[in-house]
Symmetry: C2
Subunit: 428 residues, 2 copies
């Protein structure tokens, strides 16, 4: 595996989508993926809630997510692969103040043709048997929790089986002749002068130089183009070369609570929101604790993406924190959903978001012969297909990528130099 | 020193300028500076070439540098303090291609009233006894070095005695009643909830919280406002709290070559550029190796700010690299100035630039009760006074800072959220 046209570092969802699209569009190219773990998606891809929504204010976000979701739907409906897509929908709950702020944004989205249903507080309270008037509770009030004023239900949203998606990209990539080397960790990227002078320690600054591959635990791999799709590990491979990527890792935790009681089973299987007749993915008023239904596990996955003072920190095996559930999430959750009173998680996991600290949207750029693909900030799975296509267009040197559904996307819009992304106004 | 109004972390040039201006504008405030080293400016401030220029395309850069330089001139001319300002000027040498690019920029600056003198290649060759036609040398050609086509001399530029400047700020700060604690290292910033609930591990995300001081090797210091001016160490103190500052450290090296030979003495004391009758600070064509004259040491300080693949790396005691001079700087230098043939450095030093990776201009913002002041990217000394005044305005909550010379400067222009800086087109 010493030489190739394209070397993709990382077999997470972004690495595999990128490798698949590069190979699909360049069938004769020798494309190699190296991955330090033993199988695909075993890093932070495995720690995702794997939710998706096709409902964003930012056209950048909407285009990336919608075209990816439509591709996943196509795969599933054409019977190519069962991605086990569950259209649970998103139920987004707002305080009065917050709703007043997002109302014009929602109206604008409605004008653009995006669907949602408005729910009044009374109906939410009745259907979900939830406590909407949390301010009557002294502790909730002291905690600064706000009453639910309204909710919106977003139908084009749900979750996906990320392993099935990984398998699709992996299998098709291999079928086309791509190669994947697992248990192969990149120690560093290789920099070489275009014209070697044979002086010790070259390249020097007066030489043109480029990234020409990677040193791995199984030896060096030289490549015409190296594609770094290593998620949270990206800055650790770029800092030694002085390349800024604006990506930092931050821990995210998910706690699974079993629906042991009658009340919780009723909540999990609440009728009337979606065709599945289950609870939608539900986002509480700010702070936006969220609840993912997992009917097949008879459980809820509950989380909160904390910002300050949560560290930017790279950990190989980040651990969930019992106290984060007990004193953090649970204290908020139980005020709105008394059904969770006394319930503890039966399991928990933690992963790292690769946060683009500029604007929270993905980063795809080329520098010194290296293509960097990352920073999806927790939306990597729902945008993976579009991101892979854009990275592949950059690999080919195209100005535009053709996304699924004939959406053209200007590649440089996700770069750092000519970055042009619309800010998101609907952030969970 | 357990409690204060303003705690400034770092007694480098930016920390002391900030502390001085905060104390000057808030004489009743208890202002404390903590510094891990034994005296002022012993970190990377000490490793600077201490050059300044009042010649930038970006009005942001020009305003910050010019108002600071004018303040330094005022200090010196009013006899308040001898800053040993040397108006050596900058002599900037360009290849033909590069000159064609900067020509419109220079004309624009000329229209704005900034002075410079144009030098033709022949005159440079004659005056400096330099080799302008380097392309006649095979090695230089292979290295990609370009002939000197023209040069410009910028008179409002030179160097300053940074220790004298540090002493001024320190002495005046102490005279007004400020306190400095040396040998006092900040281990971490303290985060506290506004309303403590007494639960383990608080604050949690549902609590409002803020940075309320710092834990130091000499104990905790609580402050109404904490001001982080720790240069290259800023990201290391912010990452654990998940705050992005867009600052990364990068090593810079300076090599001192004695003017031992008659030719080098002649070059060092070249007539006709400035009143000092010495060599100006000289910037070679790209790659822009630069030469600082140090007539009092009978030496030149020579440097180059390498970008790729120089690591972003925090080191307590960065070391100069012999090979960086031998195979890097020297190889370029000697092609243009054969006077340096065979000359080795008699001493060398290395420090860290605190690079703002967004645009190379300073960063001054407040988040969670913390004010961050840094990222001057190698221009910290020449902009220190303005930066201190802007940080002080932010401390007071003012929208505008009043710079020396009655320049108003919008504080949020250097922040991260409403950042508004003009890009620089004259980068060394």
């Amino acid at each position: 595996m010493a030489k190739c046209d394209a070397l993709v570092v990382g077999a997470g969802i972004l690495g595999l989508s990128t490798a698949y699209h590069i190979k699909r569009e360049n069938p004769d190219a020798k494309v190699i993926v190296v991955e330090k773990r033993a199988a695909a998606g075993q890093g932070n891809t495995a720690k995702s809630a794997a939710m998706f929504r096709s409902f964003f204010y930012s056209t950048t976000n909407l285009t990336l997510a919608d075209s990816s979701v439509e591709f996943y739907r196509f795969l599933q409906e054409k019977g190519k692969v069962n991605l086990n897509i569950k259209w649970t929908g998103y139920l987004w709950l707002f305080s009065k103040d917050h709703y007043r702020k997002v109302e014009p944004v929602l109206k604008e989205l409605s004008r653009r043709g995006l669907n949602y249903t408005y729910y009044e507080e009374e109906e939410l309270s009745r259907k979900l048997k939830m406590e909407t008037h949390v301010s009557s509770n002294d502790e909730a009030k002291a905690m600064g929790l706000k009453d639910v004023f309204a909710g919106i239900f977003i139908p084009k949203a749900g979750n996906i089986d990320v392993n099935a998606l990984l398998n699709f990209y992996e299998k098709e990539f291999l079928r086309m002749g791509g190669e994947i080397y697992y248990n192969t960790e990149v120690k560093k990227l290789i920099v070489e002068p275009e014209k070697p002078f044979g002086v010790p320690g070259e390249p020097y600054f007066w030489q043109k130089s480029r990234i020409s591959g990677a040193s791995t635990t199984k030896g060096d791999v030289k490549a015409e183009k190296t594609i770094l799709a290593a998620g949270a590990w990206i800055p650790n491979l770029l800092d030694p070369l002085g390349i800024e990527c604006c990506i930092k890792p931050k821990k995210r935790q998910l706690f699974s609570v079993k629906a042991k009681t009658r009340e919780l089973k009723e909540l999990l299987n609440v009728k009337g929101f979606n065709e599945l007749q289950c609870m939608p993915f539900t986002i509480l008023p700010e702070p936006s604790v969220y609840i993912k239904p997992a009917a097949n596990e008879n459980a809820f996955w509950i989380s909160y993406g904390d910002d300050f003072p949560r560290a930017y920190l790279l950990e190989e095996e980040p651990q969930p924190e019992e106290n984060f559930y007990r004193y953090g999430i649970y204290q908020v959750l139980v005020k709105y959903f008394p059904q969770f009173e006394g319930q503890n998680p039966s399991s928990a996991m933690a992963g790292l978001y690769s946060i683009n600290t500029l604007d929270g949207q993905p980063v795809i750029f080329e520098k010194h012969g290296l293509i960097v693909v990352g920073g999806a900030s927790g939306s990597g799975i729902m945008k993976a297909d579009a991101i892979g296509r854009i990275a592949s267009a950059l690999y080919k040197g195209d100005e535009y990528a053709e996304l699924y559904g004939n959406n053209r996307f200007r590649v440089s819009d996700l770069g750092l130099e000519k970055r042009r992304v619309e800010n998101e106004k609907l952030i969970i």
